[in-house]
Every structure is written in C-alpha cells, then in structure tokens.
Symmetry: C2
Amino acid sequence: MLPTQCFHDVDQSATCCSFGPCAHEKPATIMDQVPRVTTRELRAKEHIFFEGDHKTHVYLVESGAVSIYKVLVDGSRQIIDFALPGDVIGLGSNSEHINSAQSTVATRLQRVSFDVLQRQAQKNPQLAMQLYAALSEELAAARDLLVTVGQRSASQRVVAFLLALSRRNRRYGKDPSDIVLPMTRSDIADFLGLTIETVSRTFSSLKSKGLIVLGRNAQVDLTDLEALERLCAEQ
Amino acid sequence: MLPTQCFHDVDQSATCCSFGPCAHEKPATIMDQVPRVTTRELRAKEHIFFEGDHKTHVYLVESGAVSIYKVLVDGSRQIIDFALPGDVIGLGSNSEHINSAQSTVATRLQRVSFDVLQRQAQKNPQLAMQLYAALSEELAAARDLLVTVGQRSASQRVVAFLLALSRRNRRYGKDPSDIVLPMTRSDIADFLGLTIETVSRTFSSLKSKGLIVLGRNAQVDLTDLEALERLCAEQ
DNA sequence: CGGTACTTTGATATTCATCAACTCCCGTGG
DNA sequence: CCACGGGAGTTGATGAATATCAAAGTACCG
C-alpha cells in the first residue's frame, strides 16, 4: 500500500461523513523503486498538466497542494481531488491525462518518468500491485466525494471537508483540531459542488455557532470536533 | 484493456456531457485468465455483497444490471455505478468490499475467486496491468459522474444519463436512439443525486418537448439526439 | 501606499426537495 | 374473469436550500 492523491480519507464503512481513517503510512514507496527522480518547484496556480496532455511523468507532492480537476464546456470546474504532501499524482494506465492539475499554493514536486514506471511495473509484479492498490484508494476517495456531493447539504459538505483535513492531521501526528486550508474558497467550492458565497456563509455560520475559529493564514481551529462530527452525520 | 463497471463512457476530453466514447472492445479478458468460473442467477433487487463484507469473488455481469452503491447513516443512498452486461464488479485490492452491490433487475453473473485472481496477478504482470487498466477506467467513470453531479442541473444530469446509455448502445452495435432502462426511477435518482419526482418530471418535460418518447417496458426512444447533446452541453 | 485578488455579507431569484394525491401496471387470488 | 393490492410512476402545490447578483470589506504584494 502507498499514498495516493487520497486527499480525504477513505472510509471503508461509510460512517459519519463518508470520510474515514486512511491506513497508509509508508510514504512514497513508488518513488523509491524508480530511478532518476527529479524535483520541480511551482508558484501558486501554475499548471502541472492539462487534460489530454501526453502523460510524461508521475508526481509526488513534497509540499504545498495541487488541485486535480475537470472543466466543462461552459467553463465550470469540478475539482476531483486535492493532492497534499505525500500524495501521488498522475497514476492510471492511460497515456494521456484525463484531468488537469494545478498548484493551489506554492508547491514542490518530485517526478519520475511515466514510461520508466510503466516498464518497471511490467517487470516487477510487486510494483504493479502497489500501483493497483494506490489506484484503488484513489477510486475509493473519488466515490466518497461523490457520496458527499450527491447526498449531503451544503453545511455537511463543508464540515466533511474540514473533518477530512482534521483526520489527515491526526494521521500525520499533527493537531487534529488545528488545520490549514492550502486553497481558496473558490477551490473549496469547486471541490464540493457549491458556490464561493455558500462556502463562505457556511464558514461564518460555523464560526457564529462556536464550532470553528478562523485564524490568520488560512488557519482554522476546530474547537468542537464532536459537534462537527454530529453535524456531519445527522438528519 | 478490459471492460469494467464503466457504465457511462469515459470521456477523455470532458466535452459535452462528461460522458464520451469508451474504447474497450475485448470482453472479459480477466475472466479468461482465471480457472473455475462459476455462474450465479439473481432475481431483481437481490444483494451480491454489502459494504464491509469480506471479498470472496470478482463478478462479470452477463445479463441484467447491478447497482453499486453506498448508504449514509441517515439511510440515503448514492449509486456509484451501474454495472451492465460486460462490466466487472468487485475489483480493487481491498480485502473487504467498500460498497454494496444489488441487482436492479433479473441478472446473471459469472464469478471467479478473488484470492485466485490476486495470486494470478502476482505471478502474471500482464494480468496485473490489465487489472490496473480496468481500475483506471472505473476511476475515470467515477470522476465523470462526480463532475455531472457536482456541476450540472437536474435536466442536464438526466440527459447525460440517457446519452451515456445511447453511446453504450452504439459501442455494442445497437441502435443509439433506442435505449432500455434496466432500473427504476428511484435507482436513477440515487445515481444522479436527485429525487424520484425530479427525475420523473424531467422525463415528462423531455417528452413534451419531443426529445424522447417513453415506450413500454422501460424503453426510451431518443428522437432528437442532437438536441439532447445540446441541452446537455449548453449554458 | 495602492491595487488586485480574495472574502464576506446582503437582497433576491431559482431550482429542486418535500408532501400529498392520484394513476397505471401487473400479479394474485377469490 | 374480475376484484384487490402493492409497487412504480406521474403530477400538483408549497417551501426550503442554494445560486445569483451586487457591494463592501480585507489581506496581500508590488
């Protein structure tokens, strides 16, 4: 097992918020098995690749954050996943990218050649199975997000999003009630299938209820995790 | 490449309806590489497995239709995919199912042992890569549905759904303007993140506009494919 | 400092969910 | 053969949630 662009945790049992604990600990196993790893630095809002581009590399996020998204003809955008430090971008056997990727903040990436990775996988069944497991997690994450967007109210979606970041913090040994949002309201809105205004209003509402405190620098304090969990599950 | 539960087509370029042509033709390559294939017959609305169940088999849909879904604590259901004839259910490296599966109509399945398949894949890199490609398609399908549910209006979702079935027909050499819906309005609603009533009203509205004709036996005639495509893309 | 991008807040409009009643279809049993 | 019953589908009336439009406020970067 190895980390993927599993931004929100994959919940096997669909309790609560459809986000749950994600069990991968080993960081970047894939990258260790392939030679010639190079790094790339990005400022905020730089593109890594576009949908339809020929797939040249697979990337590991070292720091920062990347949005994986699709755009419709009318220009509206659905962010499919946020790739955070430790997550891998660009897996899948297609020779072309099926979505676009853009840094949401300043970001540092490691990259390996897609072809080299594919060839290694052909020779090494264990690597192939690792790739398979990684993709399997991405699939679970995409489906969890689908459940959230398809079935939950605006405030439940936002809370689910915050709790997913909280759980990620816990997984990495950081404070689960003190999270950072490395993306704009607009990014969050496009991730949750809402508008900027609705996301902003929901934050304000949670703040006025004393469930969160909005700090400087995109910092958010989750002052009542239990109440948030309840909010996310209820109805 | 091999077929998966890619109900709607995977559109590489996110044109129109986020559903597009899906290029797999070889049916059931996986099943041919594993011994002891058995079959199972189901009446409508029988369960194949539940979320959390130990994964014993991987299934190929021979006839009928299967809904893959998750339920939330409040009882609401999100159908994640419809598996139709030729599609495979139960892939992924988890030892437990991460969603439930239920026939929507009378259905016949082929099944192979999950463990046997895993072991074969360990030994046979080509099979492993096939599984990888299959999962890759499932992921693309889940993401396309996410885009539809997250960004489109009720009528656009319904039309996208109809057009996906139409394209599937075309791919299998059948009439793309004469489709069958092997599921209830309730299933469609839970797939598209809508209510039964909204789905029904949308069908009625499309009918009154002369874009579709509702026939007997869940048959739907798409009398103006171009107008439907336009409806799905516009705004 | 000054400008730009991002965020918040308010007023209004629209879409879709909800609640409720009714119809249709099909199978079952009297 | 017809009556009954239940599941599925349709249609209408209403309300709530969220999008849209508009404007002001705030932080950040040169």
